[in-house]
Amino acid sequence: MKTLFTLILTLLIISQVKSQDKFLTKTGFVSFFSHSLVEDIKAENNQGLSIIDTKTGEIIIQLLMRSFMFKKALMQEHFNENYIESSTYPKAIFKGRILNYDQLVNEDLVAEIEGVLFVHGKEKEIKITGEMKRDSDELILSGDFMVEVADFDIKIPTIVVNNIAKIVKVSFEFHHTPYK
């Protein structure tokens, strides 16, 4: 059943993106930054998938948690095995809508985005303000927003509770090109 569901979902996404109104990137950049008195922690992911439907303003972003690269191997290990539990929850997904996408013509746009963020098996409605612009063939969406770790039921052991911020900053930059 799960196999069938995955196959149908994949085919559905592929068929949906086959349109001149769809813009896509498979190399989207997403990073998060945690600042605490003990240490700063940063991780970057350059393999984000993002699809925008310019006809409806719908946007879907998917990230593989194991694609986040940390400076320190131990931090990466703890992130995947203890906090995010990447084996059980391998992806983060944002599904939403750019509310004012119809105002994007040739000028830059302050994009107002609303949607649901799925991380670690939990979901949370979020609002993001980003920058959106057209650069020749590209549709670029960038910005940042804050996420509360507790909203996603991520348990931080007491021994390192002071090492990790309760609120982390998430930054993103997606260079979409028309899907052909």
Partner: protein, 142 residues
């Protein structure tokens, strides 16, 4: 008196050992893909097919494992100065996208699109494609 000194010395010694172990763990290096043993060898089609059959089970099996991919390259591109080799079978919409280490940039210049290439790297999972990071070229002729 003698036994208290002994306890202090043993205690201090254990603290120093624990401290050194902690520092080593904190600073331990990332997996060196080039020197690591390959866990599984695939053609791009075989790996993609397995993901399409059961994504969750395949993710559990191969995520964070070192995979070797052998096949004709579909495209060679760059992202922020690093190279990306994509393997794609004509019968599938999905591909295997390999993000290479910066050290591989010089070798990439010698490669051509469509060339048979062997790459190994760390599999991170599947979105619309299988994603591999920290990849290195292992073609003996390069």
């Amino acid at each position: 008196m003698k036994s208290s000194y002994l306890k202090i010395i043993i205690g201090s010694f254990l603290i120093i050992i624990a401290f050194i172990f902690g520092i080593n763990q904190y600073n331990k290096p990332h997996v060196d893909v080039r020197d690591s043993k390959v866990n599984y060898v695939f053609t791009p089609k075989k790996l993609v097919d397995e993901y399409l059959q059961n994504e969750m089970a395949t993710t559990k099996k191969y995520a964070d494992q070192i995979l070797q991919i052998e096949g004709d390259s579909y495209s060679i591109s760059t992202l922020k100065g690093n190279s990306i080799i994509t393997f794609k079978d004509a019968t599938s919409e999905s591909s295997v996208i390999c993000h290479l280490q910066p050290e591989e940039n010089n070798k990439i210049l010698k490669l051509k699109k469509g060339q048979y290439i062997t790459v190994k790297g760390i599999c991170t999972g599947y979105l619309l494609d299988v994603v591999m990071v920290e990849c290195v070229l292992i073609d003996p002729e390069i």
